[in-house]
Subunit: 193 residues, 2 copies
DNA sequence: GTCGTTTCTTAACTTAAGTGAACGTTTTGA
DNA sequence: TCAAAACGTTCACTTAAGTTAAGAAACGAC
C-alpha cells in the first residue's frame, strides 16, 4: 500500500531506501470507513491528508443543504484551509468510500523537513503545481454550462461517475439531483437521435 | 508609487533600506495603456505581474466569445500558468484601465532570492495564502447562483462594479450581459417593494 | 463636433435549471 | 430480516438564464 505513496513522491523527488524506511517508521497510515467525518465545520484541525485508496470529499452545508466542492481519490493530496489560515474550518471532509490515507500535520512535516531537506523542495513544487491545477479547474468550471461540466467530467474522471452518489455529483456540478437526471436523459436522447 | 509595492511586501517580511534600494535599482515598473494586451493565447511568457495602480483581467476566447475569469487590482499579484507549467498560455491578459505595474520573471526572482533569502520565504507564504484564497473563491462561486455572486461582489469588491464594463462583469459572474442587466433590475425591484 | 463603434438596456421568446411531489429501488441499522 | 430511511428518476409547474433583435447612450477617432 505504501507503494502508492512512494510512486507519488517519485514524481517530485528521488528517495533512498533509508529515506523510505524513515517514512515507514512514522506510521501515518490510517484506514477510515465510508461515511466517516474527517473534519467538521468549526474545527481547527492541523491534519493534511493523502489518499492511497478510496475517495473523500469536501462539502459545505448551506441553508441545510450539502454543497460538495471537491473529490479526492488515489494520489490526491488535501491540505484543508483551516491548516493554512489557522481559522475554524468552513467545511466538512468525509469519506465517500472506505478509504486508506496518510495523515500528517505541520509538526511532523517540520520534523521530516529537518531530517530530509528534499521534502521542502517537493512541497514547494506540489504547491505550485496545485495552484496551477486549481486555477485551470476553476476556469473550466466558470466557462462551462452544467451539461458541459458533466461531459468534461465524463472525459477527465469517468471513475467518479461510478463511485460517487448522484446527489453528490449533482452538487459538485452546481445543480440539483433532479436536474442531473434530466441532463443525462437529455444527453442519451441526443446520442440516439 | 513604489510605496504601494513596499506596503505590500511589508505584509510578509521587513525590508531594510538597503534592500529597498536594491529593488528600486532593478527598474521593474511599467506603465500600460487601457486595452493593451500583456499576454496572448499561445505565448510562452515568463513574466509575472504586480498591480500598483489600475486593473487588469484574464480572459479566454471560447467560441469567439470572451470569458473573463479574474480581475487584478491594486496590491494583486498575478503569475500566469504558462510561467509555471512552461506551456503556451490558454488565455489572454489585458488592461481594463491605464495601469502601473511591476513586471518580473523567474530569472530576476532567482537573482533577488540569491541576494536576499528573505524573498524566498515571502514567495512561499504568498503561494500558500493565494492557494487558500483561490480555493475559497472557487467554493464561493460554485455554491452560489449568479444573483448571489453579484451580491457577494457588491460586498467584497464594490469598486469593481464601477470600474469594469458590464459585459466583462457579466462574463466574470458566469452570465450574459443581458442577464446581468435583468438581474440588476430584478434586485432594484425587490429593494423597492 | 460628427460619424461610427461599442456598450448598455429592454423586450419577446426559447431553453434549461429549480421546486414540490410521487413512486419504485437500494441501503442501512436495529 | 424487516421496517425505515435514503436515493434516483420522472412529472408538472415555476423561475431564471440564453437568444435574438432593436434602440438609446457613451465613447473614440478623425
Amino acid at each position: 500500500m505504501q507503494d502508492i505513496l512512494f510512486d507519488f513522491i517519485a514524481k517530485y523527488i528521488t528517495l533512498t531506501d533509508e529515506e523510505k524506511n524513515a517514512i515507514n517508521s512514522v506510521d501515518i497510515f490510517r484506514s477510515v470507513k465510508k461515511g466517516s467525518i474527517l473534519l467538521s465545520k468549526g474545527q481547527r484541525s492541523k491534519n493534511s491528508y493523502f489518499v492511497l485508496k478510496g475517495c473523500i470529499r469536501t462539502y459545505y452545508i448551506i441553508d441545510g443543504e450539502e454543497k460538495t466542492t471537491a473529490f479526492y481519490t488515489e494520489m490526491d493530496a488535501l491540505t484543508p484551509h483551516c491548516v493554512i489560515n489557522k481559522a475554524p474550518s468552513d467545511y466538512y471532509i468525509s469519506c465517500v468510500e472506505d478509504t486508506i490515507l496518510t495523515v500528517s500535520n505541520l509538526d511532523m512535516e517540520a520534523e521530516i523537513n529537518a531530517k530530509f531537506p528534499k521534502f521542502e523542495i517537493m512541497c514547494r513544487k506540489m504547491s505550485e503545481e496545485l495552484l496551477a491545477k486549481h486555477q485551470i479547474d476553476f476556469d473550466g468550471f466558470k466557462t462551462s454550462s452544467p451539461e458541459q461540466r458533466y461531459l468534461n467530467l465524463l472525459q477527465s474522471r469517468p471513475d467518479l461517475l461510478q463511485r460517487v452518489p448522484q446527489h453528490q455529483l449533482a452538487s459538485y456540478l452546481g445543480i440539483k439531483p433532479q436536474s442531473l437526471s434530466r441532463l443525462r436523459a437529455r444527453i442519451l436522447e441526443k446520442d440516439k437521435g
